[in-house]
Point group: C2
Chain length 146, copies 2
C-alpha cells in the first residue's frame, strides 16, 4: 500500500564536509581492500612509498609528510622492519634512517600499482585541470589544521 520507499530528508546533504567524510570513508575502504592482498594497511603503503622515494629518511620526517604522529610511526616501522621490508641504519644517536630492502622494493612496487589503480578508479575520469583544482582545494583544507 503506502510503501514508504521515500528517501528521508538529509539536512547534511548541503554540507560539503559531510560528503567529504563519506567519500574519504569509501576510498579508504577500497584502498584497504586492494592493499590487503599485499598484507599492507594504507598507512603502511604510504610509508613504504615515501621511504622508497627518500632513502635514509627518518620516522619523524615520514610522519611529518604523511600527517602521522611519531607515537604512531613506531609500531608501524617495527612491523615493516620485522617483515623484512625496510631496514634502518643509525643517522645519529637518536635517529634511524630507513631504506627499502630488496623484498621491500618488490612489495612497494605492488603498493604503487595498487595506489595508482585505486586513484584511477575514483578519479581517473577527472580532467587534469580539474584534478589540480581539487588537490589544491583539499590541500587548503588540510592546511587549516590548528
Amino acid at each position: 500500500m503506502t510503501k514508504k520507499a521515500k528517501t528521508i530528508d538529509n539536512p547534511l546533504a548541503g554540507h560539503a564536509g559531510f560528503h567529504l567524510r563519506r567519500a574519504s570513508s569509501v576510498i579508504m575502504a577500497d584502498l584497504s581492500e586492494r592493499l590487503a592482498e599485499l598484507d599492507l594497511r594504507p598507512a603502511d603503503a604510504s610509508t613504504l612509498i615515501l621511504i622508497g622515494a627518500n632513502p635514509g629518511v627518518t620516522q619523524s620526517k615520514i610522519g611529518e609528510a604523511l600527517g602521522i604522529q611519531r607515537a604512531n610511526m613506531t609500531p608501524m616501522a617495527a612491523r615493516l622492519a620485522e617483515r623484512g621490508l625496510i631496514a634502518g641504519a643509525p643517522v645519529d644517536g637518536r635517529s634511524i634512517g630507513f631504506r627499502l630492502t630488496s623484498e621491500g622494493e618488490t612489495v612497494t612496487a605492488g603498493a604503487r600499482a595498487a595506489m595508482a589503480q585505486h586513484d584511477a578508479r575514483f578519479l581517473g575520469a577527472l580532467p587534469a585541470d580539474q584534478r589540480r583544482d581539487l588537490i589544491a582545494l583539499l590541500i587548503s583544507i588540510a592546511d587549516k589544521r590548528p
Copy 2:
C-alpha cells in the same frame, strides 16, 4: 644541489586520494572539537540532525542515509536516548521511530550551528557553483562503494 633539511619527496602528492584522506582527517578533528562542547561525536550530531528533520525515523533509515551500519547505530541510539535527547515509539513490533525531546531540540540546534560554522571555516570561501561541483564529485566517489 643542496639537499639538506628540506621537505622530502612525496610521490603521493599527486594522488587526489591522498589529499582527500588528509583533508577528511583535518575536518573530522575540527568537527569533533566543536561538538565536544555539546558532548557529541560527529556521528551523534548527524543522527540528531537527521531525526530532527525526519520525526519518527527508524535506526535503519538513519544508518542508510548516513552510511552507518545497523550494528553501530544501536549503541549510539541507546546513548542518545539515555541522555534524554531522543525518545522512541514503536512503529511496529520490530522498529522504533525516534523523535527529538525538547532537550534534544536544544542540543540539536547547537549541533546545527556547530556544523554550519565548521563548514564555513573550511569551505565558506568557496563560491556556490564550485561548492556544487565539489559536492557532486564527492557524491560520485561515495557512490562507487562496492
